[in-house]
Homo-oligomer: 356 residues x 3
């Protein structure tokens, strides 16, 4: 997929990339399996709608910091040539994605104004910060091999989703379903008898009424978590109550529940946990499933491994203003330098270490 060397041209205010940001973005793609880096556009247009969209050769020409950064990226990619054909191993954790569910949540006259992407992104960001790569998979996929499956706001669940998720639980896995999931059938008719119709049995809950929050509103949970956007009035029919709402329109009722079954668990999260609460929740899940990070993690540092059967490479992409130490011995292909005990990933920098 194309990206940009610096500013785009379609925002009200198009802010250019900071030094090093283009390299980090590019290697973020390579880390996840790309064997090339594609930009729109080669030469920045002299005229037309995309005149002020950045390119590899800017209006100023080749004598420019931006073009020198592009050349430097070429150098780095040259040294990364040995990764060609290597892959990111399949993760043990998946996030389900379904564009039809996204369209469904955006229909008129829904209970509240939701953005489908928000909850998926928040879960994804928490996993990135935890140093754990995650597979984003179509909701229709076979889920064999996944030990943790996250189901953000799947308003319309494709046929058989509940069965596939039940299979994960039966194998001892962790399944997490968040609010406003499994509400309707393929004709957008509500599944009656209590929300979420498609997942009521899987989760052991029965919802009676949606209780969205006012613009900017938050609620507190009994475990100290904070919820946003949405709450729900529901009962834990056949599930443990992990936390309750301690404020807001569903105060006193369950907020997060867990139904244990066959060694696994099906969790229901009936509110949008804020970033910190999501991080804590994700840490619990990873602990339950025994999933380890690529290396010791730090918020804002992406950690990904590529392998080819014989060798392996660890990408550490540091989006923070602090240096980060990656406790991996090997050869850093970005700086073309060897690290015996651990590589320092400079603030806003990247290392790609071929592991010994």
């Amino acid at each position: 997929m194309e990206h940009s060397t610096s500013a785009v041209n379609w925002q009200p205010r198009n802010i250019p990339k900071a030094p090093g940001e283009m390299l980090r973005n590019s290697l973020g793609h390579v880390a996840r399996g790309a064997d090339g880096v594609l930009f729109f556009q080669w030469r920045q247009s002299r005229a037309g709608a995309e005149t002020y969209h950045s390119g590899m050769v800017p209006h100023a020409g080749r004598d420019s910091a931006l073009f020198r950064d592009v050349v430097r990226l070429g150098d780095v990619l040259g040294r990364l040539g040995e990764l060609r054909g290597s892959v990111v191993p399949r993760s043990r954790i998946a996030i389900l994605w379904d564009q039809e569910a996204g369209w469904g949540t955006a229909l008129p006259a829904q209970p509240t104004s939701l953005t489908y992407l928000d909850q998926a992104r928040r879960l994804h960001a928490a996993l990135v910060d935890a140093g754990v790569p995650v597979d984003v998979v179509p909701a229709t996929d076979d889920l064999d091999g996944y030990d943790v499956v996250l189901v953000p706001t799947l308003y319309l669940a494709p046929e058989g989703t509940a069965d596939r998720l039940a299979g994960v639980v039966a194998r001892g896995g962790q399944v997490v379903v968040t609010y406003f999931s499994g509400i309707v059938d393929a004709a957008n008719r509500v599944l009656l008898g209590g929300y979420p119709g498609e997942f009521r049995e899987l989760l052991g809950v029965r919802g009676e009424e949606f209780a969205p929050l006012p613009e900017g509103g938050t609620v507190t949970l009994s475990d100290g978590s904070v919820g946003e956007v949405w709450t729900e009035r529901f009962t834990a029919v056949d599930a443990d109550v992990v936390s309750r709402f301690t404020s807001g329109p569903s105060e006193g009722g369950p907020a997060v529940t867990r139904r244990r079954s066959g060694g696994g668990s099906a969790w229901y999260v009936s509110t949008r946990l804020d970033a910190g609460s999501t991080a804590a929740f994700v840490a619990t899940l990873l602990d339950e499933a025994g999933i380890e990070p690529v290396a010791a993690p730090a918020p804002g540092v992406e950690l990904v491994r590529r392998v080819d059967g014989e060798r392996s490479w660890v990408f550490a992409i540091n989006h923070t203003d602090e240096d980060h130490t990656l406790a991996v011995a090997g050869h850093d292909l970005v700086a073309d330098a060897r690290h015996e005990s651990g590589a320092v990933v400079p603030a806003r920098g990247v290392v790609v270490v071929r592991e010994d």
Copy 2:
């Protein structure tokens, strides 16, 4: 008129009713003369535009808190059957209402962006808080029998309004006209010679220039009141100055005036008093007119009486988080319990006492 058991579906964020809110809303209607309670919709739609509008039987079915609340409402209404045919006695105080005036204030290129309803609602809310039921009457009505008549922002006054209001004053009543009233004739032509053309003689004032406030701006008055939205540069030609503007674009000029005549008074309020200042102003009016509340009032507690010639019932609807004591002896039809000296109206609760 239909209302809803809980959430509607046409707001950006549709927040459900809190426990007890549906009963309070329903009995608010009954208190004012309704002999029934009507909801849209019986069964919550399974599909269509109103899928997420609440109903009497929610998607979850009859085993739900909401349906149990509806059944409880039915029980209460059963006990209220004895009120059938009783009425709310005509009030001694009226608010004039005219939809054409509302449309007129919303025309393009008016002096400022006004919402016709705001001023009427603020006056009404102050009377509710004062425990005094008020009649909302068409501006074309005969005003016989009213001792206080409130005229919020009647941009276009129906023919004869000034004469009808003068009749109230002549009988010793209190008339209150607020800003931007009586400005135009039925063809939307300004009545020349000084604002408000239709009411200049009645009020004894002569306005020269409108001076609306910037978005969110306020002004202070010499009696400590606070004005919003609007001020006016006018002179008290034949009226007492009750308070003056002490800040803002009309600083130094009159703000509230009173023309005494024939034992009555015609007041002009040239700004939108804030809620606290409106409460104080309304208290003065009630005192002048000798109008007593239904019972000892409290802000947030609606008090209304229905009568049938032989019996009377007092509704006390508590929208606050504090218990309220209603000093009325009789039988409470909601709790089906007798109160010898006074009924406690629980926080967020309702009592309907058949008076001894």
Copy 3:
């Protein structure tokens, strides 16, 4: 050009003029050469789209403060009759104006949302506060006779502009070009090789990338100035660096530069200096060019002189809440009073002194 005696009718909230404001506005026009004062409308419309636009005779009629102010203006204008035919001397300082450049900055998909007028107005306001009248001239004009030429955001420079500006510098003048100027040719094609293509040689700078700021963002400069809206990543190829960005997306790079040549200077200002920083910058320019104010200046007091070859008149228009002393001896035509040593210009007032 017509103006208004008080409120207009086309804003969401149309606030009337404060006492004295109409006289100040009117004499502001006369000060700059008007030989008359024109209002829309004579009688305030009784009906139609401009009903609530002010006029000379308001709805209230001639018995009104507003009409008395109009009559007073007539008295003052009568005494100013002797100015007829006098002129404002050509200034030594000019601001270039070009409507096509304004349209160009408003095209879709530009680097950021700019308002062409803002930068021109800020420079103009700084000169008014400095007591220095400025000519606003078409960008296509001959610039002979100007010792300081300000070029705010001239996105598309008319043919020959750079040469005309270079001529000013060659004569020992000061030229100031601000950000996003000289970017494209008449077909809206970017001038390649570094920004600003049209002015690169004149200014001795070479821009590589635009770096606009987020909504409401500011940056600091090494001389304590504050920049808004825009920054730029550029190098001073043949110019002195006057100040550098000390924060923001262009941190470390030059912010304001100066290329000295032939006794004159060409300045480049690559950000929108805030009001205080613009005042300081303008003070430096005036000092370099040896331009003196009409009289001792004060922020918020307009000072302009008209002359007819024999006589001269100084206008001092005080928009502040403090009295101002104008150190000019002569006869004040507004108050019809003689000032031997200096005239007090009352807060919110005006004097027009025929100089001895």
